[in-house]
Amino acid sequence: MSSRSFDVVVIGAGIVGCAVACWCARAGLRVLVLERDGVATGTSGACMGHIMVNPEPEPLYRLTRRSVTLWQELRDRHPELHYLACGALWLAESDADLPLLQGLDRAIAGHGDRAWLLDARELHRREPALAPDLPGAWFYPDDAVVLPMQACGVLLGEAVRLGATVCTHTPATGVRLGPGSRIEAVRTPEGEVATAHVVVAAGVWTPAVHRQLGLPPVPIFPRRGDLAITAPFATPVHTQLLEVAYLRTATGKTIDPEGSEPDPGANAMNVQPQTHGTCLIGMTRQFGGLDRTLHPELLQRSLARAARFVPALLDAPVVRTWAGLRPYTKDKLPFVGPVPEIPGLHLAAGHEGLGITLAPVTGELVAQAITGQAPSLPMAPLGLARGAAGARHG
């Protein structure tokens, strides 16, 4: 921190903070990234790397689609980025799931985008390792897989080469506000840093950071996910796989993260081939605070579920398991953009299970807001105000 004055201070060096730093540095801003721990030691170091277009709802489609395009540009710019352009298969388990596939196809066609419905024969020709009784799938070709931590490195690396400064093991401990509650400086244990803009990109720790810094409350709730990774082996699958029934659980009975009843947890099949032959097996979801301890029972269920769709996975050697915390919001959209009560304060947090996907578009939108450019997408659905209203009503 040789300089004591920056245009932007980013709090948090997860994938979102790294992307914000990258786009701000590209915009010519002098950027400082403060990370209380190491780079990608939070959720971005404990997740999967599906770059995923969500066909619905509309705002999420637009965000994810724009971000996938930005990822493709990153891939072209950084040959070192491990980018597996494998597409995604949404799998039906039985005929009862087929209408869900058709719904996805209609939604994507409505956006003028392209995808394919595969029948059982086409599906097994594409992925012979799948269980023989699966009746069909929906294939979206533009989805991809990155190694999230490596991707953090690529984004932050570009920012640093453009002049950004990164201070690890340096938490933000306070902010100094000037007239009109305008941001003037950020405090750290090493002293104060003058800046006009602060971007809070602290994932599940964003509410705590806001509390500590005396900033408005942010309704983000940690939602744990348990994972297993295999050693490289003759990868039995080549495409990102997920079961379409996951949509049903996602839209079904929602659990109130603030409710008094403990969340029993849910799981669905998610199998992710990676560039170097390993395979990630997910996915579970459970609210349970900031505890990152693995839930053996849920992990066990998700391994069994994966084997239901890809029987050969049972023989894959598992080298490690762990858990990460998704930054969940009640309407499943992140908070991105300025916080009007505090001029100079911006949020970039609450991306739940899509933070890797959405990091580039988040970086782009935040940099546009700071430099006063028109946003590439509508910002209203991402403002804190709608979150606060949601929190009051439900």
């Binding site: 953090c152 990164v166 992990l299 084997a307 049972l314 598992v318 490690r320 398991t321």
Partner: protein
Amino acid sequence: MTRTHAADVAVIGAGPAGLAAALAARQAGAVVTILDEGARPGGQIFRQLPAAFGTIGQPAADAPSHALGHALLHDVEASGVPVLARVTVFEARPGALAYERDGEVGVVRAKAIVLATGAYDRSVPFPGWTLPGVVTAGAAQVMVRGQMLRPGTRAVVAGTGPLLLPTLTALQAAGVRVVAALEAAPRTALLRGVGALLRSRAKRREAWHYARAFLRSGLRLRHGWTVFAAHGADRVAAVTIGRVDRTGRPRRDHEQRLEADLVCVGFGLEPSNELARRLRCTMLRGPDGSWVPQVDARMATSVAGVFAAGEVVGIGGVDTARAEGHLAGLAAAAHAGWTVAPERFAQAEAERVRERAVSRTLLAAFPVLPGLYELAAPDTLVCRCEDVRLREVREAAALFGPELRTLKMATRAGMGPCQGRICASILEGVLASRLGVDPHRHACPAAQVPVKPVAARCLLEALRELG
């Protein structure tokens, strides 16, 4: 179907520590089960031939420690304690553990667990260290003593510490011609080491045994020398050796090139601590910088019902391992509700303290020389599982700071099947020697289930059984 065993005491590891623990616990009355990855009990030092080789007989139990080992093995056999061999324990919780054997899962429920998981060779990377024909001292001994194989014909043996001598003796007995025997530490370390050895009768005898064999061999141990590089297209054909200063830093003024088809390297041992980390035992840095579970005067770790003994609580050699195992076995039996007379405890505790003191001096005489980590060249591999080179680690450290976890994330070093067993100390070593990063700033890495790779079906089954 999952096999389930119940015991008062489960002992993981059938080396001297584990065998002594099992015997002591059994003698106190406890129902004991021993588990070990090897085909036969014995651990590193009392390595037995696989049973299938039985007709040819066992390798000569020449060294005094080997005689002791065979006595221990015999006593365990006579005691009727079951030894589950060829099982890999991949998960442990207080009170229960899960193992894999030939793709099948077993569960042992026990009131007390003794971790006697031993140690493995520490690797120091140098150009060519991953070529076929470069083996660790441990692997060479496995080949010679455990499988009766001759690993090469012309060998350069390099490393540091008292284990070089048995390695040399084993190679020579197998008919390997040793063209150079290189001890990286200066001669003064040897003198200090001898001082420690003289304080223990057993070690004195052991040292004398190997020293005599070594002297008879006509070989000369070159102090302050080590291997700089191994050369060859698809396997070792030649070796560059050279002098190092007192800190192990290579001096490039005396390099020599030798023809050899085998390089044996032994730069000390590292404790197999993954089960201790998995059980969330409080971990401390030992005198050689490696992570070991904290134990009290009776070998109890910070986790109730979990005990540890032998190399896993600090590299110390066979006598310390046996003394600690004995004490841990008594303590584990007592934890499981069996009565152990206070005199027995007092005697075992005193012996353990005595042996550990000797080991500590010996360990201190042959520290991990930090300068040895300067042997690696920019394109030398530092993580074999994930093919990460020194250059990549340096670049990542320059960008993100020299933090182990972050480097792991940026370069994938430590993410492969070994889960850092080999490369964690290498990374610490190169960060310290190349970038001046104090190794003590790194926290002890967490271990998750499975502590060793296991088929998904086994993991699934174990999680279902253990909840």
